[in-house]
């Protein structure tokens, strides 16, 4: 088996700027207040993924999961350390693809597919499958700005899943979809896993992570807190021992 992703000591700094205009910055400086603060969104993370592995990423909101995925798909570069990947990458980052709100779903479909590296012939060939999978009906020819977040996720997922990628990234995609769509996505991702493609799956649901993944990475404030068996990861996160009442409430959502 070949390695698919190699992450070595990857660190990403973000700077929070409290003030934007010249006047605000000048006032803050004069009063001796800080004008910005730098922190590590991903902090010295290292791991290696073999081709065909399905990896679950877990962690609280703001722990750096989306940032890590952005570095793996090449939107961002690590400030320190290195990331290497093998083959084509497709997927959804931060609950949705990059769409232009003024454009129609169909126009966005072409654009997105081309950005993900599909050729013109490939898009023509797969167009019907993508449209069918997204199940958007007439809405497909309306502007994406009018879509609900679930509809956007459908379209984004439908496009990404039809790319012949070697690595598939899914960042909380299923959080906004309705149940029939979630089921369809899970089935599709299982197919991906069987076909030997590498799967990177961010989710807050212990059940689906245990079912879907053979290994889980847990991020804690940017650091890699845990790397190993999914059941142990859920245990590590204490997602399994929370109050029954908490669970009930969370499941009701």
């Amino acid at each position: 088996m070949a390695t698919s992703i190699v992450v070595e000591n990857a660190t990403k700094y973000f700077t929070l700027r409290y003030h934007r205009t010249f006047k605000e910055v000048a006032v803050a400086k004069a009063k001796g207040r800080p004008t910005s603060e730098t922190f590590k969104a991903v902090d010295d993370v290292s791991f290696t993924v073999e081709q065909g592995e399905s990896i679950g990423i877990m962690g609280l909101n703001g722990s750096g999961k989306s940032t890590l995925l952005k570095m793996i798909n090449g939107v961002m570069k690590p400030d320190e350390g290195s990331i290497l990947t093998r083959g084509r990458i497709a997927g959804l980052i931060a609950t949705g693809a990059g769409f232009h709100n003024q454009l129609t779903g169909r126009e966005n479909l072409y654009l997105n597919a081309a950005i993900l590296g599909m050729t013109e012939a490939e898009i023509k060939r797969k167009l019907d499958d993508i449209v069918e999978f997204a199940e958007l009906g007439h809405t497909l020819d309306g502007p994406v700005g009018h879509y609900s977040s679930g509809q956007k996720a459908r379209l984004g997922f439908a496009i990404a899943i039809h790319v012949d990628s070697d690595i598939f990234l899914a960042d909380e995609v299923l959080a906004v979809g309705d149940k029939p769509f979630r089921v369809k996505c899970m089935k599709k991702m299982r197919q991906i896993r069987k076909s030997g493609r590498t799967l990177f799956y961010v989710s807050h649901s212990p059940d689906s992570v245990i079912k879907m993944c053979n290994r889980v990475l847990v991020l804690e404030k940017g650091r890699l807190g845990f790397d190993g068996d999914p059941t142990e990861a859920v245990h590590y996160l204490r997602y399994d021992e929370g109050d029954d009442l908490d669970d009930e409430i969370a499941n009701d959502i």
Partner: protein, 294 residues
């Protein structure tokens, strides 16, 4: 992508994600570029009844305004024969530059939805803007050609060379500027405004409302420094292509045209390409921080 060379085991190599960047990456992904350009063009006339006819109406009306106001009220027709063509040739090429520069500077911020989530060469957006501006040059060239032919122009090969050089100068410099400022504009939106202010000045720094003869006349031996402005040369090249052929060769305004226009034009194209390389270098330095600052 298709250009990937598999390693020994027949698999694609291990490498940094999205490593095919820069203007070279843009050239490799022509289909995506085509989509961006056609989208932009159709978006501009979306919902209009006249559609693409607007791309003729706009320059034509602007031309008429300048023609009547500057030509008759300031009485420039008297000194510059076929003043309308003299002006319109300049307007066409200058407009190509200001459009590429201005819209290109805003292109990355405008496409933030894509930039923050999708991996692609970000040079794609300024380049697409340049091609859209080039597309809008075509109707103006048509108007210019018809007007010049009606005024007695017989096209010569050298006219086409001049035309091409003028376009190359403005396209390359406009793109270089757009690369610099589109990245800078992400960090401070002030840069977009700076470019707008700059573009307002451009029109007056080139010999289209006035003739080069006047510059030569008033600046004397300093007139050569005026020619260090590459846009002035681009305008003169366009006038060489269309306007010179319509005027009596003995006329003093034609006689005053600078020498070695084509040679200078070719040198400026070379320098512009160097500037473009520098712009690309700066852009790739700033690029890393673009997605997180949008």
């Amino acid at each position: 992508m298709s250009a990937v060379v598999p390693d020994e085991s027949g698999l694609p190599p291990l490498r940094p994600p999205a490593s095919e960047n820069g203007l070279i990456g843009v050239v490799r992904r022509r289909y995506l570029l085509k989509l961006l350009v056609t989208r932009e063009i159709s978006a501009r006339y979306q919902g209009t009844f006249l559609g693409l006819i607007w791309s003729y109406i706009n320059p034509l009306t602007q031309f008429c305004i300048y023609y009547f106001v500057v030509g008759f009220i300031f009485n420039l027709h008297a000194e510059i024969p076929n003043f309308a063509i003299h002006l319109f040739a300049g307007l066409t090429v200058v407009h190509f530059f200001t459009e590429t520069f201005g819209a290109g500077t805003r292109s990355i911020v405008r496409n933030r939805a894509l930039v923050v989530k999708m991996a692609m060469p970000r040079e794609m957006f300024p380049v697409a803007t340049m091609l859209v501006s080039l597309y809008h040059v075509v109707p103006q060239l048509v108007i210019l050609t018809i007007a010049s032919l009606l005024s007695g122009w017989t096209p010569e090969p050298v006219d086409f060379v001049a035309l091409l050089l003028g376009l190359l100068i403005c396209g390359t410099l406009g793109l270089a500027g757009a690369l610099f400022f589109s990245a800078a504009n992400v960090f401070f939106r002030d840069f977009g405004n700076i470019v707008s202010v700059f573009n307002n000045f451009v029109r007056w720094g080139v010999p289209m409302m006035y003739s080069y003869e006047m510059v030569d006349d008033r600046f004397g031996r300093f007139a050569q420094y005026y020619l260090y402005n590459p846009l002035a040369d681009a305008v003169l090249l366009f006038q060489r292509a269309f306007w010179v052929g319509t005027v009596d060769p003995g006329h003093k305004s034609v006689a005053a045209m600078p020498d070695h226009l084509l040679l200078n034009g070719a040198i400026i194209v070379g320098v512009s390409l160097l500037i473009l390389c520098v712009a690309q270098f700066v852009f790739s330095r700033l690029e890393n921080k673009i997605p997180e600052r949008l």
